[in-house]
């Protein structure tokens, strides 16, 4: 397990009360990961050796990081402070829209790594396993997540996708 300091979000989000924001997000994120775990058991089989690994997903523009532990029996997906990151096995960092495109199956992770837009650190085998497991999901996890929140969720995702294509 390592602790990592990433670029502080304080400059971008000087007036946002980050702790209450994270607290507000936790039940939403928990609901998302439980739904994905229920709908995609094959994804968790593919990542079997690393189901209890702790991944930190860091979108550069966001004021917090996301902690993912892909344990099908007790999945964890929660917002955590970025500076420093809590202990973890692997870190995946990049621009938010790139991370969205990767989850959406629209971008290639290796290409994003070659261009240096995507940074990975820590246990490379765990990251490769997660990447391959996500890539085998039919359809779009991003879309499923948006569907969870009805028309407002779909509208937000559509707007984000337009920004990806812009």
């Amino acid at each position: 397990m390592t602790e990592t300091a990433t670029h502080s979000p304080a400059r971008r989000w000087p007036h946002v009360p980050l702790a209450p924001l994270r607290a507000l997000l936790q039940p939403v994120l928990a609901r998302v990961v439980r739904r994905i775990a229920r709908r995609h058991p094959e994804m968790f089989a593919r990542i079997a050796p690393y189901q209890t690994a702790d991944f930190m997903i860091v979108a550069r523009e966001m004021p917090f990081a996301l902690h993912l532990r892909p344990d099908p029996d007790a999945p964890v997906f929660r917002a955590v402070p970025r500076d420093p990151l809590p202990g973890h096995d692997a870190r995946i960092e990049g621009p938010f829209l790139l991370l969205l495109s990767l989850v959406d199956g629209e971008e290639d992770g290796d290409a994003a790594f070659f261009s240096r837009d995507l940074v990975i650190a820590g246990n490379t085998e765990a990251v490769v396993s997660l990447r391959n497991a996500l890539d085998d999901v039919e359809g779009s996890i991003a879309q499923e997540t948006a569907d969870l929140f009805g028309p407002p969720g779909r509208a937000v995702l559509a707007a984000l996708r337009r920004r990806v294509l812009a």
């Binding site: 971008e107 290409a111 070659f114 261009s115 490379t124 490769v128 396993s129 990447r131 391959n132 890539d135």
Partner: protein, 336 residues
């Protein structure tokens, strides 16, 4: 179902069932894949197929007129052949269209036990002379050879005249330049074997570290094999594409090859004229997105050539290693 003998067959990679379906839907004539074990040379974590997944993949591909080729292209360690025997038995049972083999023992087992199962000779066999290829054809009934990426197009044309089987060449993707099937660089540094364990630069022994100046260091087995300055494009952590210092090159240089990918899109007409039956796209370790974009681009190019039109060559450089392309030895031996 498309015939194997149709010139310009597009042979496409799939590391997962979703990637296989994407390849088929994007126009693949054939899709190659492997099991989740050491029987294939892309034995990476989270990648590859279970028996049930392969069976479903064969059904999906066949229903849409595509073929499935199973990579059994590693070398069984002495006395540990059960994994390869089991894989061949499953391949025959679920109806794959061919097995891609490298090891003579595996080739013989498949040829004798499943005589109706078509055999392709993997690039891992490194058969690059008419004599070597004819040997595999004569003794194991090999119907197609995947040529190593060391031959010029005139050399391929000469070989075609002297062998009784089809030719498949790589046209896009990772540019392996070692004597394939014989490379022991990974084994030397990590103790794991590309050729027997199916792992070139195993991910479990790869680390990436960022230096204070923003440079990215890629390490394998604890050894730094490259250091990319801030903003410099990166490559795979493979030893053959590492950057090393030497007494006469203290600044560091690519001793074997730089991070670069093969792209023969512009040479497709010449390759077809030289008698190449099948074009192989590398990248079972890549994503559905890569498969969709590369397969779609080559499908359009091959169809245009068959129709007598100039192919519209898509720009695929963003998907290439180091974001650089080469035609390697196919264009000229001066390449290296």
């Amino acid at each position: 179902m498309k015939q194997f003998s149709e010139a310009g067959e597009l042979v496409c990679p799939a590391g997962t069932p979703a990637a296989l379906r994407t390849a088929v839907d994007s126009g693949a004539d054939s899709v190659y894949c492997g099991f989740r074990n050491a029987t294939n040379a892309r034995n990476f974590p989270g990648l590859n197929f279970t028996t049930e997944e392969l069976e479903a993949a064969v059904a999906y591909a066949h229903a849409r007129g595509s073929k499935v080729l199973l990579a059994l292209n590693t070398y069984p360690p002495a006395g540990k052949v059960d994994l390869w025997r089991d894989a061949a038995a499953i391949a025959a049972r679920v109806g794959v269209d061919a097995c891609i083999v490298a090891d003579m023992g595996v080739a013989r087992h498949v040829a004798e036990t499943y005589p109706r199962l078509r055999l392709h000779l993997s690039v891992q066999a490194a058969a690059s002379s008419p004599e070597a290829i004819r040997y595999y054809c004569a003794h194991f009934g090999v119907r197609r050879v995947v040529l190593p990426r060391i031959l010029t197009i005139p050399e391929i044309r000469e070989i075609r005249r002297e062998i009784p089987c089809e030719i498949e060449t790589f046209v896009f993707g990772n540019h392996g330049l070692m004597v394939e099937g014989r490379c022991s660089l990974t084994n030397w540094m990590t103790g794991e074997s590309t050729n027997m364990d199916g792992v070139c630069s195993p991910a479990g022994q790869v680390t990436y570290e960022e230096d204070a100046d923003g440079a990215l260091r890629s390490c394998l087995g604890g050894f730094t094999i490259d250091r990319f300055a801030r903003g410099e494009t990166a490559g795979y952590p493979t030893i053959c594409k590492g950057r090393y210092t030497a007494p006469h090159r203290p600044e560091g240089y690519y001793a074997f090859e730089e991070p670069v990918s093969l792209n023969l899109a512009r040479l497709l007409p010449e390759l077809m004229a030289a008698g190449v039956h099948a074009f192989k796209i590398e990248g079972r370790q890549r994503s559905k997105s890569y498969v969709r974009k590369v397969v779609g681009a080559f499908r359009a190019a091959v169809d245009a050539i068959r129709a007598g039109a100039a192919p519209d060559l898509a720009d695929l450089v963003v998907l290439t290693e180091g974001q650089k392309e080469t035609q390697g030895a196919f264009q000229t031996k001066k390449w290296r």
